[in-house]
Symmetry: C2
Subunit: 346 residues, 2 copies
């Protein structure tokens, strides 16, 4: 028996196949929980919420108390990096993030890593507190947005439907756009290394908008930057596993895994279960991939899908999760039912 | 030599490999053309524009005059079907389509195929005129939205980000949602058969939002309804080729092609070129897949991508196209440059 006291998340990421797989849910701390909504109201805005160690620690812990997830994920946002680089970032109620767009070399010149770690000090304080306060069998996940995904917000000035400004810039002037990506690789690496130094045991990289790029651009703006961050983490924090999430990568998931060297890959709900088992699981630990709309709908359709995922992916190194974050209208009892089904495994 | 007078589009869809492949562009009639914007202004709203044989015929012909595309595609919209089924459909300027949502068996009861063909008479008149007016080497493509994609608009009441209402309904009550899909299969088949009777030589089925569904739902709501429409067309209009477009299907493109029996498959820009050549082209004619953002950006990046697509996919049965519709800010000279590069092939 290999060290039975090691946390399940770390065992799974180490390549072990477990009868009862570890589980956590993307956006497990969130608006579907009334205790979250209550705390959220006390912060004047979303960024100050992320930067408050008291509030961020509390909401990170809330879902653990309810459901006993095997991992806690730092409560934060992927846009704390542009903010810390000096870009103006605002979260407007009901409207999402609004940023002063970065679209030229001149705009790039106004960003700097100088104040990065200082500006993020409260986040590292949250990581330290979590590291102390979570149950001893729970693993602490630190995270960041991957450069491509963060760049889309920085260039578009917010969310977008087709990332036209970002993609046009990347095509028309790959050299200048590449400098933005390089800056993000450096900033993200420094940010994540600091999370690990403060207690994060696993890192997840969220490349939420990876799926919109054609192959050549996927290689250049998704695989390459993620690979560089993984290499930086390997060198600064040996032994800390990294999970990549190139959401929507479809046919390119395999190359992503092979070429970035991640320890685990998080799968969106469109990835066929048997394919993931055949092609990806021999390469690394897989994480996923229940449709978040099924979690919202509940009932037999949800239970059928959970059973299939557990049956097929449970035969190899595996972490149960969703394909995307929990949606705000999700009934908490559906989450409880899925947790119950997982716990029945062992 | 096989009948050299047959239209290039039909030869390619018949499985022939052509030195100079046929080409047309999705949304080739559209706002990027000033002559289109001029005509568009004369119609009081978008639905009446689609229902005007004079205007719809004119804008369908405009891009042929400029670029000599090998296919004309009927100018219309995928939402003419819900309208003809009796659902209230409005197009509001700058806001997109707004529909009175269909979300229950009661709502379904208010839809009917009774007036369908009558309501669509002006569209068939447009098809007849186009069939008469297009150049004799140009093929006329008729089209419709596929049931899943049309259903998302009908249920959400317009465009959507994650199709939450549609997917929740499909999961929670697949029997009732299945009746909506069945109705759409019947209506779409009748509509397309009538397009063929009036002169359409090729049919394309647009399943624009196919890519959001997990595998089991993709089989049920994408593959199955498209397969039934293909079968209905085969039986009513033997010999008329059908192109399927399950946009974003990723790993499931192959099953879509194998199980629907389409003659051609249109590929979005994320499908890797070499994979399409290796896996899909032995099964059917492939169409695609230049990134529409590259067409917008132009320059060396665009030319490099066009060359690669022509080199790799040109070795088998192939129709050059985009991965998605032409974007309104696209410079017409970029379209001209791509056409020139294709014409240089033979």
């Amino acid at each position: 028996m290999s060290k039975p006291s090691k946390k399940l998340m770390l065992r799974a990421l180490d390549g072990e196949t477990l009868a009862r797989p570890p589980f956590w849910f993307m956006r497990q701390a969130g608006r579907y929980l009334e205790e979250y909504r209550k705390v959220r109201k006390t912060a004047p805005n979303f960024l100050s919420f992320c930067h408050s160690p008291d509030l961020a620690t509390e909401v990170t812990l809330q879902p653990l108390r309810r459901y006993g997830f095997d991992a806690a994920i730092l409560f934060s946002d992927i846009l704390v990096i542009p903010d810390a680089l000096g870009q103006k970032v605002e979260f407007r109620e009901g409207e999402g993030p609004v940023l002063e767009p970065v679209r030229s070399s001149d705009d790039l010149g106004r960003l700097s890593m100088d104040g990065l770690i200082d500006r993020m000090a409260p986040i590292f304080e949250t990581v330290r507190r979590l590291s102390r306060d979570i149950p001893e069998t729970t693993a602490l996940i630190g995270f960041a947005g991957s450069p491509w995904t963060v760049a889309t917000y920085m260039v578009e000035g917010g969310g977008s439907k087709d990332y036209q400004a970002t993609r046009t810039w990347a095509y028309a002037d790959p050299e200048a756009f590449g400098r933005l990506i390089d800056l993000l690789v450096d900033a993200t690496s420094a940010y994540l290394v600091e999370q690990v130094r403060n207690g994060a045991e696993i890192i997840q990289l969220f490349d939420t908008w990876a799926g919109v790029l054609p192959e050549a651009e996927f290689r250049r703006w998704v695989i390459d930057p993620n690979a560089r961050i993984v290499a930086n983490l390997r060198s600064a924090c040996p032994g800390v596993p990294v999970i990549g999430f190139p959401r929507g990568a479809g046919l390119l998931y395999e190359d992503f895994v092979r070429e970035t060297g991640v320890d685990g890959v998080s799968l969106d709900a469109t990835v066929p279960t048997q394919w993931a088992s055949d092609v990806l699981q021999p390469l690394c630990t897989v994480q996923g991939n229940l449709d978040n709309i099924l979690l919202l709908a509940g009932g037999p359709a949800m239970e059928h899908a959970v059973t299939r995922i557990l049956d097929v992916l449970g035969r190899g190194p595996f972490i149960f999760n969703l394909g995307h974050g929990i949606l705000p209208p999700t009934p908490p009892e559906n989450v409880a039912r899925v947790v119950e089904m997982i716990m029945e495994r062992g």
